[in-house]
Symmetry: C2
Subunit: 330 residues, 2 copies
């Protein structure tokens, strides 16, 4: 983090979705680097925003409650900012199938209006976009690199592709500096664990620290990669500080682990709870992507990023956080 | 056409954008094949719908004036139909940059609501989607086949990708039979020639038959391929009749010609008018795709389609049509 720490000092930073999991960790870090942080978050209960995520930073960051779909607020809020970390999004795959219009409104139309706001009112703002491995859909070969075909398996994946394309277009045509990371599974303090809507690992953590049984869908042999939140925040700050990264997109990723092994590890680390395999619920099966892990050599070779936090250590820190703060997240 | 002619007899067919260029030619053909044709068209003056396109068929097809963005009308209209030819769209590239929200509403949100209407009220309806070569953007290699990467250069291209993905998703997840053609430049009777908003060749025809000067952007060496409308209608009817084509997409295409040669040919065929090269207007340059021609071997090898109408002959027929009916299209 030393390399980028000075770049954000005294800078004016806007974080959409800033009370959510990634956003709040980023906000806390940027505040620690002496940036002036303004958070935009709608605090919709079903999404990831949680005021407690900003605990201890209430006086150091500005929390502006607004929805990114509110075009007029965004027109104002982007003004005078040096950086926009564009993290707001609807990220539930199952929600996107049950209510495709809302996913479209948040993940496409609102993204377009944020870009239009920047084009009209602040075209020099540096934008970071949080994209997702979901755009790859079912993988054709592993690990998945950035040239992999895009075969989205759900509405969410389709809309996130459109969002990426919009960002790249506004860079190419209007010259707005934009950098993109395609994130994989992320875990750590301040993630939503209330239900399985957004991430299954949050739900597993919820269950396991209450001594319950984790349900692993299918045979549990599906591989996934998991990045610890601090490594992700570091990647975001690193990539947004690099002029060479503008107009480009990079995978994050990690060593893969099977879901069964992950469940076993969580039980071992907490010393309670258990796990079992159960058949896929049909609404999940139809949009399941099978095994996935990302090839992160592009960002590693160019900028030196790699996931430094071992899974075991990251999980320990995460479990510790929720054991301390469980009631704030239920 | 013999092969498919019986398939559509007595079938109930809905054509969105059915008063437009492709839609009206398709409607006339299907009506001739004794299908029961209902047309949905908003007849927005800036788009391609023109009541005169249905001249002589007023008693044989049902013209229902409605916008595909009107979800409730679509919910009703898809019911009881065997086929949906989904042709409605905003197709102007420059309009999509100036008003990205409208392009998003028509090309993405309305497509989603048409699919939702089918899923809820008529999941067995057979859908044909008119997609476009615009989704490929700037080509990496020529001719462009269906595996070419998608690098859209404008909002229209981005939104058409989302539309394709939605259609494929609703096929895969909900089992709705859907077939897609990626269309290239199309010309022929009943195209809009009022301005250059939708297709430059229409505008050129307008200019040349009035003895004016065609303006060719750049050096005129850009290659493009042009399909005559009758060949396109045949491809649509063919592909929609093939069970093996469901869940798939196919390029159309033709022998390429440079824009300068095309201009020269138009002048030769009309015996009047002239052409000149002019620099690209900036708003066109920034979204220009350079040379393009499609590899149509996938549809040719599997289903035997190829563009039978020579360019010279197709242009002659087209020029003749507009010489007869010019005032209906100005």
């Amino acid at each position: 983090m030393i390399a980028v720490s000075d770049i954000y000092r005294d800078k004016h930073v806007l974080i959409t979705g800033g009370a959510g999991f990634i956003g709040s960790n980023l906000a806390r870090c940027l505040s620690g680097l002496n940036a002036h942080v303004t958070i935009v978050d709608s605090l919709i209960p079903e999404y990831g925003g949680n005021v407690f995520n900003l605990n201890g930073y209430e006086e150091r960051v500005v929390l502006n409650i607004a929805d990114v779909r509110d075009q007029y607020s965004m027109n104002y809020l982007v003004q005078g900012k040096d950086y926009l970390f564009n993290l707001a999004g609807q990220i539930s795959h199952t929600d996107s199938m049950q209510d495709p219009y809302t996913d479209l409104e948040i993940n496409v139309r609102a993204q377009l209006s944020v870009l239009e706001a920047c084009r009209k009112y602040n075209p020099k703002i540096q934008i970071f976009l949080a994209s997702t491995r979901q755009i790859y859909g079912k993988q054709v070969q592993l690990p998945v690199n950035e040239s992999h075909s895009l075969n989205p398996v759900d509405v969410n994946g389709i809309n996130k592709i459109a969002s990426e394309h919009y960002h790249l277009l506004y860079h190419r045509v209007y010259g707005i500096p934009i950098t993109i990371l395609r994130l994989t599974n992320i875990y750590g303090p301040r993630m939503r664990i209330k239900d399985a809507r957004q991430t299954f690992i949050g739900w597993w953590i919820n269950q396991i620290i209450q001594g319950k049984t984790i349900r692993v869908f299918g045979d549990g042999q599906q591989l996934r990669d998991f990045n610890y939140i601090d490594d992700v925040v570091e990647a975001i700050l690193l990539i947004t500080s690099k002029a060479e990264a503008v107009g480009n997109f990079y995978n994050l990723g990690a060593e893969p682990i099977s879901l069964l092994e992950l469940a076993r590890l969580l039980v071992e680390l907490t010393g309670k709870g258990s796990f079992e395999t159960v058949p896929f619920p049909p609404e999940r099966k139809m949009i399941d992507i099978g095994s996935y892990y990302g090839d992160f050599s592009k960002i590693q070779n160019r900028f030196g990023w790699y996931p430094v936090t071992p899974l075991r250590e990251g999980l320990q820190r995460t479990l510790h956080y929720y054991q301390e703060n469980l009631l704030r997240y239920l």
